[in-house]
């Protein structure tokens, strides 16, 4: 039983989507995250265990490797694909409330900025950690952040900026969000940011590392 969960984690970590996928070459022809997840469900393992000890564990490992420069953008993308494919089997249990998502996070790249690879990776890691992620896209105005927060009622909002110029737009966005939702945790990130800057604009969290953002989110959920 543990064995199959470990196998699922390995498939997610290595990006083995399903039996038909040719990647990674050494796992060719073997079952992937897709088939193994279905098998695990059918064998009676609780879906939340499959999610936590299999899928989320796999994403955690690839996130860690990414942080250590042992894995790169394509590796994270393919892991996320394996996870998403397997999630199709898990989703019904969310809908029937047998498992609960950890909460909802809004994420977007700020006004003036069209870089989205980093934002997507952060979204994947947070989603991979068991959260629901609403992606509002790139070039997002303060107004759109606030309006989407009104309708979606997220537990936290993540802002990404890759240009030093657009990073400066974050201040205004944080102020607008906090004006309407004073208690909303706002996480900021992106290559040009520093802890000092994040503090100066009143953001609740900054890290260059998406895995740390996930830890922070899991923490606010705990203390709530």
């Amino acid at each position: 039983m543990e064995n199959i969960l470990e196998k699922i984690a390995l498939c997610v970590e290595r990006g083995k989507v399903n039996k038909a996928s040719l990647f990674p070459a050494d796992l060719k022809g073997e079952e992937g995250a897709d088939e193994l997840t279905l098998k695990a469900i059918n064998s009676g393992i609780h879906p939340s265990e499959i999610l936590n000890a299999g899928l989320i564990e796999g994403m955690r490992r690839i996130g860690e490797k990414f942080r250590l420069n042992k894995a790169f953008v394509p590796d994270v993308l393919i892991s996320a694909k394996a996870m998403n494919t397997a999630m199709i089997h898990i989703k019904p249990f969310f809908l029937s409330n047998e498992i609960k998502s950890k909460g909802k996070v809004l994420i977007g790249t700020v006004m003036g900025d069209l870089h989205d690879i980093g934002k997507n990776i952060v979204g994947m890691i947070i989603r991979g950690g068991g959260w629901e992620v609403i992606d509002v896209g790139v070039d997002v105005t303060p107004k759109k952040f606030v309006e989407t927060a009104r309708t979606e009622k997220p537990d936290a909002i993540c802002l990404s900026a890759l240009l030093t110029t657009t990073m400066l737009n974050m201040e205004n966005i944080v102020t607008e969000i906090k004006g309407v939702f004073p208690k909303m945790p706002v996480l900021v990130g992106g290559a040009p940011l520093t802890m000092e800057y994040a503090k100066s604009i009143n953001a609740d969290f900054y890290s260059p590392d998406p895995q740390k953002a996930l830890d922070f989110l899991n923490n606010i959920k705990h203390t709530k």
Partner: protein, 297 residues
């Protein structure tokens, strides 16, 4: 048709121009606005850049066409104007340098990742084909396929350029230093892997651009030199920008940059210029140092 290799053969070392994006921003372009649209709306303003760079001593001058592909232009609903925008980009640069420099048609990455399945190889090939032919039609002397991080995408762009133009091709990649101290692109490729796979696509020049300042480029070029016989190209940025007095400030000054040029040449670079944050003053300094080196050999 090989004007670039002829010139390099005579001069041995060549000076490329510097940043375009930063220059356009200084002229009023706002973040989030389409830089390439200015070719159609404010061609006179754009022309000031090639003028300034050729005056500063650049022997190779780029075009305002970095994001001139369907994926980038569709953000601004300009995907129907790919040909016009790129052709005009080359014409503006040609006009601006007044025969004092060769024109490198700039082709930047699509910004989409092939393996995500959001686009196909065919679609990508098509947009790069249009861009490359438009740059040739506008008078580009060679093509600069720059800031790439994915080998597969670079090969598609190179093939599109080769199939549709008679121009020589320069291919440059952007690297970051990893925790282990080696350099890899965002997609995880080393200069060694890039030489092995990209050279055979049929390029004339290989190298690196953007990155994190001039000095680190020497290490990247050394690795290229070990693997490649091609002339090597460096277009470095003036370090990563920080904020000072509410303005954007690039840390590497023209004087500092000029002190690094001999290291780059020793490492094996034969074409040297700038990327984000460099200005005509930087290029002027690079030209001064290169002129001294040329007079010695």
């Amino acid at each position: 048709m090989n004007r670039l290799s002829e010139l390099l053969g005579i001069k041995k070392l060549l000076v490329c121009d510097g940043a375009w994006g930063t220059m356009l921003q200084n002229k009023g372009l706002k973040p989030g606005e389409c830089p390439e649209l200015l070719n159609l709306t404010y061609p006179k303003l754009v022309k000031e850049i090639p003028e300034a760079y050729s005056k500063a001593g650049a022997e190779l001058v780029k075009t305002n066409s970095f994001g001139g592909n369907k994926y980038r232009l569709s953000h601004y609903s300009l995907e129907r104007k790919i040909f016009e925008i790129n052709k005009t980009a080359a014409e503006i640069s040609k006009d601006g340098v007044k025969d004092k420099a060769l024109i490198l048609g700039s082709i930047g990455p699509s910004g989409v990742i092939l393996m995500m399945g959001d686009t196909s190889e065919e679609e990508m090939y098509e947009t790069y084909s249009i861009q490359a032919s438009a740059l040739e039609a506008g008078g580009a002397d060679a093509l600069l396929i720059e800031t790439f991080s994915d080998i597969q995408e670079a090969i598609i762009a190179i093939k599109a350029a080769k199939d549709n133009t008679n121009l020589e091709i320069i291919s440059t990649f952007t690297f970051e230093k990893t925790i282990d101290g080696d350099f890899k692109t965002m997609m995880g490729y080393t200069p060694t892997q890039i030489c092995e796979e990209v050279e055979k696509a049929g390029i004339g020049y290989i190298g690196t651009n953007c990155g994190n300042g001039f000095e680190a480029m020497a290490y990247i070029i050394k690795e290229f030199k070990e693997k490649s016989e091609l002339p090597l190209v460096v277009n470095a940025n003036a370090g990563l920008p920080t904020i000072r007095d509410k303005g954007i400030y690039y840390p590497e000054t023209p004087e500092y940059v000029s002190s690094i040029i001999s290291k780059l040449v020793e490492a094996g670079a034969s074409i040297i210029g700038g990327c984000c944050g460099t200005t005509p003053q930087h290029i002027n300094e690079i030209r001064r140092v290169i002129d001294i080196m040329r007079s010695k050999c």
